[in-house]
């Protein structure tokens, strides 16, 4: 039984309670948490869009923002991929099924999936940056007829760091869908591409015609991927990215995530590279 005396519907800084119903290893040091929302959180987090994020609380330690890795159409739970890197993620990794977490969200803007209809899509994910792209992939696969050619470029430093490996077969088998994998440091059994995602992108060389690219990964990857996209003839308006920033409120108050005058939490995390180009400050 859960007690929550918060009338928290109106307090944007108080989390809703959720229960971990599934925890599984996704990659080395990366776990996928499936959260069932309880009480008021059921409604508040019942609807959300690809690219939005939420704060996960490890009670007693703190909270941190994570991209939501699920879609409401496919999942009644909220999925979060969590890489063990700091105090909050370390505590989250100690939790198991049946434990409680806090969730605040959904927050931020999202990929304009409706505007992408009829276009060829190129999705580029690096490491755990693949997490917020999974809802994009699932949305395209669930509405396959609404989109053109679908190309997924999926990368990690090492095969053990690739996320959602058990879903590759589904992605590959969808109509008119190509999945290209690459790692910088292959192991003995690796039989896909070797090298940076930028090299893979040059090799695959998608046409910019009627196309949109969507990239998420480390800042340096986002930067160089978009250099290659420029070279391939993509215009900044065609290239979408989702940016990561340190943040503590998610609702435009704490000031932590500013890029010049824009706040990643409320003006983002999704930006077109045309919008990124207008920022005074670099995300790199």
């Amino acid at each position: 039984m859960i007690l929550s005396e918060c009338k928290n519907g109106h307090n944007p800084l108080v989390p809703y309670l959720g229960k971990l119903v599934k925890v599984r290893d996704l990659a080395s040091e990366i776990k996928l948490f499936s959260v069932e929302m309880l009480d008021g959180g059921r409604e508040a987090l019942g609807s959300y869009f690809p690219g939005q994020f939420a704060f996960l609380s490890a009670f007693g330690v703190g909270e941190a923002p994570f991209g939501i890795a699920s879609t409401p159409r496919r999942s009644s739970t909220l999925d979060f991929a969590v890489n063990r890197l700091g105090s909050v993620t370390n505590e989250l990794h100690l939790l198991g099924e049946g434990d409680f977490v806090g969730v605040r969200g959904p927050l931020g803007n999202w990929f304009p999936m409706d505007e992408f209809k009829g276009k060829n899509l190129i999705v580029l994910g690096g490491g755990i940056g693949g997490a917020p792209l999974r809802p994009v992939i699932q949305t395209v696969l669930d509405n396959r007829q609404n989109y053109g050619h679908f190309t997924i470029l999926w990368a990690a430093r090492h095969p053990s760091l690739l996320v959602f490996t058990d879903e590759y077969d589904e992605w590959r088998s969808a109509p008119d869908t190509r999945l290209h994998l690459t790692v910088d440091q292959p192991d003995a059994v690796w039989d896909h591409n070797v090298g940076l995602i930028t090299e893979l992108l040059e090799k695959v060389s998608p046409s910019p015609e009627d196309a949109v690219s969507i990239t998420c990964g480390p800042p340096v990857m986002i930067y160089y991927v978009n250099k290659v996209l420029d070279k391939l003839g993509f215009k900044p308006e065609q290239n979408y990215v989702t940016l990561e920033a340190r943040m503590h409120c998610g609702v435009g108050k704490c000031g932590r995530c500013n890029l010049g005058e824009k706040l990643v939490c409320v003006d983002g995390p999704v930006f077109s590279m045309a919008d990124v180009g207008k920022l005074s400050e670099s995300f790199l």
């Binding site: 039984m1 859960i2 007690l3 929550s4 005396e5 918060c6 009338k7 928290n8 109106h10 307090n11 944007p12 800084l13 108080v14 989390p15 309670l17 609380s57 009670f59 007693g60 330690v61 703190g62 909270e63 941190a64 890489n83 890197l85 700091g86 993620t89 049946g98 409680f100 806090g102 480390p218 800042p219 340096v220 990561e244 920033a245 340190r246 503590h248 409120c249 609702v251 435009g252 108050k253 704490c254 000031g255 932590r256 500013n258 890029l259 010049g260 005058e261 706040l263 005074s280 400050e281 670099s282 995300f283 790199l284």
Partner: protein, 342 residues
């Protein structure tokens, strides 16, 4: 207009202190701060401005957001919204403007922050006009004035035989109705009185145009001026408009064997090295110059574009100039921007 004698005002403040949380300039271990007072005798009347602004009374340095109780498998969250009425006496016009700037962001920009907003609703501001400007004050250059009553609920002007009273809001009127203050009528009207309330009002510095800052984004000046910056963050803590915060959970000592913690937020500053560092270590503002630039551009370029007020997030109080251990002077930075943009 009405005025009150110093004795009458003291009696009134004594009564206020008994009924509500009265906050006023008070000396604590040799430092002047806005702190709760028990009676008018604890109030310091002659001052330029306290070390910290009244920001503390709305956005405390450390503030509890909720408590978290783990009882076996259960989790109990209790939000801890601030309660209780407070009256701040001796507010300087620059600090009242600072609260208006914070209000534009915390309350008027959706979703509103319930902690700040609740405190703002529960607080009445009684201003005390400045008779002189301090050595590092420059409010007049930013549209403020030492005797500007604009953002107060009640404004007091010290004159020869007491204080002239100007009621600015219904909230101020309500306070004066609840706690009656002994007053005398005076014949002067406001414009006559304000003209006779002598205070130097000259603009002390030239403020750069809003668009001049972005042009200087890549100026090597930022790296130069930041060389001596210690990243100590005192500029942000004394600033009436700096509002960045950090959130974390802290353990609470508990008598009943339950595992209890509190979620707190505390002041933070963009001068801090880890401020923008993300998981994995990437930091787009690794260099001190990048961080110091953010402090100034936030005030004079970003905030005016983000806030419905459209003004710079600087009141000209000069506290950061006095507080900086290495003499980084916000007015010198502005002069640099003005000079290079000409």
């Amino acid at each position: 207009m009405k005025m009150t004698a110093p004795e009458g005002l003291a009696v009134w403040l004594d009564r206020l202190a008994q009924e509500v949380n009265l906050i006023a300039p008070r000396e604590i271990d040799g430092v002047l701060l806005y702190r709760p007072v028990r009676n008018s005798g604890e109030i310091v009347w002659e001052f330029t401005r306290p070390l910290l602004s009244i920001k503390e009374a709305f956005f405390p340095a450390t503030e509890r957001l909720l408590t978290i109780e783990k009882i076996g498998q259960q989790i109990k969250l209790t939000e801890t919204l601030p309660k209780g009425e407070q009256v701040i006496f001796g507010v300087r016009p620059c600090d009242a403007r600072g609260i208006k700037m914070l209000e534009a962001l915390f309350t008027d920009t959706e979703p509103s922050d319930p902690y700040f907003t609740q405190r703002r609703e529960n607080t009445t501001l009684i201003g005390l006009a400045c008779r002189t400007m301090g050595a590092t004050c420059f409010c007049t250059s930013l549209g403020g004035a030492p005797d500007d009553p604009g953002d107060m609920d009640v404004m007091l002007y010290e004159v020869e035989n007491g204080f002239v009273i100007q009621v600015m809001t219904e909230k101020g009127q309500a306070l004066l109705s609840r706690f009656s203050l002994e007053t005398d009528d005076i014949s002067e009207n406001e414009s006559e009185f304000r003209a006779s309330y002598l205070c130097e009002q000259a603009e002390r510095i030239v403020i750069p145009e809003m668009n001049a800052w972005a042009v200087k984004f890549d100026d090597p000046y930022w790296e130069q001026v930041s060389e001596r910056c210690l990243s100590c963050r005192i500029c942000a803590y004394v600033c009436p408009t700096c509002r960045c915060f950090d959130v974390r959970d802290e353990d609470l000592l508990s008598g009943n064997g339950h595992n209890q913690s509190e979620r707190i937020r505390c002041w933070d500053s963009c001068a801090r090295e880890a401020y923008r560092r993300i998981a994995g270590g990437h930091n787009p503002r690794q260099a001190k110059g990048q961080r110091l630039r953010n402090r100034f551009l936030c005030k004079f370029d970003y905030y005016p574009r983000q806030s419905a007020l459209g003004t710079a997030a600087c009141t000209g109080c000069g506290r950061c100039i006095d507080a900086c251990p290495v003499n980084i002077d916000i007015t010198e930075v502005m002069q640099h921007i003005v000079e290079v943009s000409q």
